[in-house]
Symmetry: C2
Subunit: 235 residues, 2 copies
Amino acid sequence: MPDHISKQFDLELETIRTRVLQMGGLVEQQIQGALDALASGDIARFDQVIVDDAQVNALEVAIDEDCQHIIARRQPAASDLRMVITVIKTITDLERIGDEASKIARMGKVIHSAERYQTPRLREIGKMAEAAVAMLRRALDAFARLDATAALDLAEEDRELDDDFSAEVRQLITFMMEDPRTISMSIDTLFIAKAIERIGDHAKNISEYVVYLVKGKDIRHTSIDAIKRELGQSV
Amino acid sequence: MPDHISKQFDLELETIRTRVLQMGGLVEQQIQGALDALASGDIARFDQVIVDDAQVNALEVAIDEDCQHIIARRQPAASDLRMVITVIKTITDLERIGDEASKIARMGKVIHSAERYQTPRLREIGKMAEAAVAMLRRALDAFARLDATAALDLAEEDRELDDDFSAEVRQLITFMMEDPRTISMSIDTLFIAKAIERIGDHAKNISEYVVYLVKGKDIRHTSIDAIKRELGQSV
């Protein structure tokens, strides 16, 4: 980022970046909390995840307003403007990840309150979720370090997560066919897996905004090979 | 919107608004196409929906760039800036609606190619989808006419659509339990219903951006009563 005559402007840009990472950390906590509670059946933990979502939502609105004040007062151009736009887009995806985490928490609450201890494949789902959390962490890290190359890894990881999700759906279908009494519980697991798959999509989106921020090029809706070319890597 | 010294600026703002509505129309066509093909089994129609998604994605990127040029060159303030920010957010939701439409088309192709004519409850799903399309149409209309009050209707309609989705899931579970051979097909229907439910969420988001655009207030993450108060309606 260029150095500004106005140190105040630098400070404002630095502040919104810091707040995005703070918001990201909170969202990461939400997912982790939902996963831990899913494993332990800790209902209070589920409730905490749901309560924290209000804080995530409030952060989105607050950072959004900061961005608009910066645009109106500072009239940023070039990379500064890209930073502000990137933040506006990133917080939308972070907020939606928070929504998915609360969905998981709400479903987990139902599962454990109903003492559906045989809810199938929660352990396997946990592995998918760890991959999604790792993707989010990597996307936030790329945003913090302005690392455009992470987008490539995330595109590939997102493809793997999508494959894992499809495999999970097939497994659950087999499971339900073998024992129709598990259908209702299997559908709960299915929706939790779906929420995790979406978290991966949002993490991928964030990494794509970082490429736009660093390279000034929009790589959304492009192939992995096109991203490689954009990053000057051999295809 | 205020009248500008620069007629060129007015023209630029008018142009992005028009392009958003054009993009919205295309997305609406995608959903409608996917639904018609789902009813008729017209595979070519499914393919068209999937092909059109590239055009929707390209429009998102193009409008996004227009918005950033306007911010950089025109340094908009107040309601002009809100309009540009609203467009940036709206096209993100439109693009994701397009994604859901192609998902429906891809799933529909699988269903009909496999000649799974007994895929359950597609007719009921069609009704849900019509409600979602109506929500999108209303949200775009609110954007075109700068009508903040539509957000209230859409918040209520989205709640109804979510209820319909939950009811549909329960129906499908019953269906699968009665005849486990339908499990795989029922899961297809379930994912189509899920995609439709998300289209409603995105339409609701768009109507909330319009409130922000018109009232300068962010009503995301607020209750229907809070929205009523915001719109000066009695609770």
